[in-house]
């Protein structure tokens, strides 16, 4: 089985002749940057694992010597399985063959590490019986307004190979978190894994504005529909409904459609508000112009009355 070589010096960014102090200080610096508790970027945990593995080997004079014996000519990723001094350690050490199972702390060190050191290179942690729960992780899940309203399934892939099928509950709200128990950071020393939280972001919709559970939509009407009243179609989450615009509706008037907003927990539902917006034609036909001119002659209506 091919095993990819890992350049631990390169991982820590130190020369092969680095002193213990230089190695420790390089590790500390990188660990502070990539520690999954500190850095929430995707990939930070993977990077931290690499750094920890490199430090695990180079911090210990025995392990470092064993690693150095492989030689300096390997490049990261090269198949090292046939190399002299490789694979003969660790696994085959009789009594110690199973030790790493007990110490196995779920850190997921590389095949390279496991082949070179088996269980024997691994320390049990800072002190006897060290174990701790892994950290919680959070990612953002962008969904459309329709998905938020109806709920549904969503496949999510992370760069590190984790794939999930997530149930989006109907009526989920912007900012709410969906919890995937035990899918967060790995625990150490047999500690339980943390949780993965998906924070829901409802994408702004082309038509609807969402406020709490209520939806707002613009309702364009003609001047005569607004003046005389009319029944017009209004888009809803599920299609359209007919809405009666009362005679004498000016722009900005809000018409409420009860229960046509976002579904909530249980039977509560938000409302849909249609805001009347009077629209005039950009260009008038001959006949239209005549009629508007007649209307202008005949009408005494002055919306600016009382302002002067």
């Amino acid at each position: 089985m091919p095993v990819a070589f890992r350049d631990y010096y390169e991982v820590l960014g130190v020369p092969r002749g680095a002193s213990d102090e230089e190695i420790r200080s390089a590790y500390r610096k990188l660990a502070r940057t990539y520690h999954p508790d500190v850095n929430k970027e995707p990939g930070a945990e993977e990077r931290f694992k690499e750094i920890s593995e490199a430090y695990e080997v180079l911090r210990d004079p025995e392990n470092r010597k064993r690693y150095d014996r492989l030689g300096a000519n390997w490049k990261a990723g090269e198949d090292v399985s046939g190399a002299e001094g490789f694979g003969g350690f660790g696994r085959g050490q009789g009594d110690f063959g199973d030790v790493h199972v007990q110490f196995g702390d779920g850190n997921g060190f590389s095949d390279f590490f496991e082949n070179l050191f088996g269980g024997s290179g691994r320390r049990a942690g800072g002190f006897e019986g060290f174990s701790v729960r892994g950290g919680d992780q959070e990612a953002t899940l962008e969904i459309s307004l329709e998905e938020a309203a109806r709920g549904g399934h969503r496949k999510i892939s992370f760069g590190d190979g984790r794939d999930y099928e997530v149930d989006i509950p109907a009526g989920v709200r912007d900012g709410q978190r969906i919890r995937l128990a035990g899918e967060g950071g790995r625990g150490a020393g047999g500690g339980p894994a943390g949780d993965l939280f998906l924070r829901v972001r409802v994408k702004p919709d082309r038509r609807f504005l969402l406020e709490g559970r209520d939806l707002f939509v613009e309702l364009p009407v003609t001047p005569w529909e607004a003046a005389l009243g009319a029944t017009v179609e209004v888009p809803t989450l599920d299609g359209t409904v007919k809405l009666k615009v009362p005679a004498g509706s000016s722009s900005g008037r809000r018409l409420r459609l009860k229960g046509e907003g976002m579904p909530g927990p249980g039977k509560q539902k938000g409302d849909l508000f249609a805001t009347v917006q009077i629209v005039v034609p950009k260009k008038l036909g001959k006949r239209e112009r005549e009629l508007f001119e007649q209307l202008a002659e005949a009408s005494k209506f002055d919306p600016r009355e009382g302002r002067r």
Binding site: R32, S131, R133, A188
Partner: protein
């Protein structure tokens, strides 16, 4: 034993279970004031504290400070993202009418 002590002990056991830490260590950290056992985030905070100490070589005082600062950053980031989401909605023009 006063009733108060009993509550703390029970809580330490529950926290130890949730965090995977040894109960003695949990009790010691509660006594030292590193974590409030009744806080809603006691378990994740405790686990983070021990991870930071173990992985970054911090002492407990440093790890407590780091936990406080990280919690504060989480809070600020959450607030910022709420504000940004709100601003985005307000800035968005209403449906254009053609």
């Amino acid at each position: 034993m006063t009733p108060g002590t009993a509550i703390v002990l029970t809580d330490a056991a529950a926290l130890a279970r949730k965090t995977g830490l040894h109960p003695d260590l949990v009790r010691r950290l509660i006594r030292s004031g590193a974590v409030d056992p009744f806080a809603w985030d006691a378990a994740p905070r405790l686990a983070r504290l021990v991870r930071l100490r173990h992985d970054l070589g911090l002492n407990y005082a440093g790890a407590v400070l780091a936990c406080d600062l990280l919690a504060h950053i989480d809070e600020l980031e959450a607030r910022l993202s709420r504000l940004e989401a709100g601003a985005m909605r307000r800035a968005r023009p209403t449906v254009s009418i053609r």
